[in-house]
Amino acid sequence: MRSLILRTATRFLLPLLMLYSVLLLLRGHHEPGGGFVGGLIVAAALGLGALAYDAPTARKVLRIDPGYLIGIGLLTAMSAGVTAMFMGKPFLTAIWIAFDLPGLGHFELGTPVFFDIGVYLTVIGVVSVILLTLVEET
């Protein structure tokens, strides 16, 4: 769709949307957000790019074939669950480590975060595959 307005808007919106999705992903544990929404927003951004420009351009933004993203996402989510098994606990038990960074305060890092990242990547992959395949066929 050759619309100058859409293209210009997309040039600014796309990177903003990507950043925003990462923000949503990382804040999900304490504030509204999470992996699902984050992933959907990335996919929506790619859809926007595919409409404004064309599908190959949108794919270049992603840099990696979305099909691989599905696999990587599932793998990440599974590994987050399996780390608990290495410590003798059942699959998907959450393992948290807490540490203090000087000056920045108390941090807690846990496997649910990686699980959420896995969900994020999978959702990006799934929706992008569907969207981009459809765009390429029409």
Binding site: G34, L40, A44, T138
Partner: protein, 774 residues
Amino acid sequence: MDLLFAAVVGFILAAFLPSLYRVIGDRVVWLLGFFPAAVAGWFLTYLGVVEADPITSLKWEWVPQLGVSFSLRLDGLSLLFVLLISVIGVFVAVYSSGYLAGHPKLGSFCAYLAAFMSSMLGLVLASNLFTLYLFWELTTVTSFLLIGFESQKASARRAAIQSLVTTAGGGLCLLAGLILLGLAGGSFEVPELVDQSDAIRSHHYYPAIVALVLLGAFTKSAQFPFHYWLPNAMEAPTPVSAYLHSATMVKAGIYLLARLTPVLGGTEEWSIPITVVGAVTMVLGAVLAFGQRDLKALLAYLTINVLGTLVMLVGIGTTETITAAIAYLLAHALYKGSLFLIVGAVDHGAHSRDLTELSGLRKRMPLTAAFAILAALSMGGVAPLFGFVSKELYFEGVLHAPGAPFLMAASLVSSIFLVAGAILVGYQPFFGPLTEKADHAHEAGLRVWLPPALLAVAGLVAGLFPQALAVPLVEPAASVVSGDATPLHFALWHGVTLALVLSVVALAGGVGLYFGRAFLLQRSAVAGPWLSWGPAAWYRGAIAGLEWFATWQTGLLQSGYLRVYVILILTAVTMIAGFRISHVGLPNLWRETMGVRLYEAIAVAMILAASLVTVRSRSRFRAILSLAVIGFGVSWLFAIFGGPDLAMTQIVVEALTVLLFVLTFYRLPKFSLLSDQKTRIRDAILAISVGGVITVLLLLATGIKRQPPISEYFVQQSVPKAHGRNVVNVILVDFRAFDTLGEITVLSVAAVGIYALIRFVAYNAKARREGDRL
């Protein structure tokens, strides 16, 4: 441990034999033969030991609460069968190495046969009813594979399927019966059931149990009216026919009846059906055998006859007849196995199994002829062979049984035909003038004539020394079944008894029948058309009817139109839910509300208005956009009621949905075909019903407060246990992470599916376009 070995090693072998065949070729048969030889050798040491002290090998409890375990047990009855299966198995393996030498699928053949051996061994060793059923069906499956071995022949495939459908159908009935039996007896272990037998016999499940178990046994042992599959099973290679369909597998039904006699037997409901069916099958098999031209078919019908006899004897249930049944079973395995293998050798050497084409073979195949005569003498019940000893026992048992006159008359008829059959098999092909086919025959190799020879000679030796050889096998088995441990006394000569006189009469009758065969066959040709109305025709009719019904039903329901599927699903859901609701009643649908605030009303009004626009719109895009408005309205409601995550997700999903719709419908023309008034009314009624039912369902469900809502637990535990303040997200990735994992897996599968659908459609369309251009 050794019991487990017998029941399992065959399967392990079966897994490796085909690949081993590629490496060592025909020598896989030696591996195949080693297994039953090892089993036979080992279990022979149990002779004499097991009577006093049955061995329970193992009991692996799988589902203790339901009584489902894997348990094996060796007692007299199972020992007899184990030895039978393993010894004849060795002979069959040796025979196959010669008969099927060079066959390209020999590896698979050996694998199937090994699997069958373990299945059958497991069946007779099983002590838990579920274990028994497991191995029962395994024998069905392996038999199917072996019957259809020459899978390129349509007749073999048909015969295999027929055997599978018939015996597996019976197997299902058997499972139901066994479950009822376990429930009635309070345990699924056979020894415990034997102790409970009085309670079981007076239980109200008893008739059903008997009926179902009998169905299972009758289908497996080819009793009337389920006998039709056995002659067709002759499509299998001859070693298979000898092993499965005469010596071992078809005896499984009889084994089952014998094994369950202490538990279920002794009543009229048990004895009368079994005796009657057995007797009918016995006479039927004998008479049908008489007119056969194909030697294998002849032997198959005679097997049906003997199976009927055995079933009848077990049904009568006296100690005498049970002993006779077991002895006769042993004799039959020896002579029938031998005869089948000999017919195979004849087929191999003369390239024919047709009685009209074979005569005078003894001049070309003297060894085979000699042992054929020996085995046929055992079949006809001529002294001093073991067939004679067992037949005397059988006649004695029948004479002392209730209903003796009828049963003896049937037995006499059967024996006469059996003798005639023996002459047809053992005399006619080998004596007389040399036909052309017979002239070109050659004697079989050592591996092909020796096994049947050994079997036939075993029949002779057991007949000459029955007390020494047969009694150690038969006595423990009989005592397990009849619960009676009196020692047996087998002898060749019991004095001139009524049984002996009847045997002589049968012999004479049989010989006379043989000589009058041509005349009788001519006269009975009239009956031919009547025979085609028999059970085999019922089976064919049933299968044809099933296929017709499946085609009709699929055409009706799977019309290919998405709207038909949606209508069917929605109608079904509405009816089922509505039915349940009407049962429950509508206690209190009225809810106390906190009052409806203005912005909630606006959101709802927006949704309603958008729905109306969607339904009435004549433009595709307008419909899509108003659907999006509904979605945004719903997300507004989520936001109002405190679900920001949900609202966000819903908004993005809605935007993506619009995009997907647009992309999909982009190429389609404007709505050109609008549905007519009637269809719209139908759709409106359906939609309103579904909506109404779901609404009522929701109101009912939210009105039921049984336990404190689980949300309180999550809210309390979210921070301390999961280190997160966003409860929704914490539930998704921590408390219920497993569900989320499942969801993303499903999403991935959906993506792959959609990708494949779109790409393939495009690929096919392109291919078609290019094809047109060519």
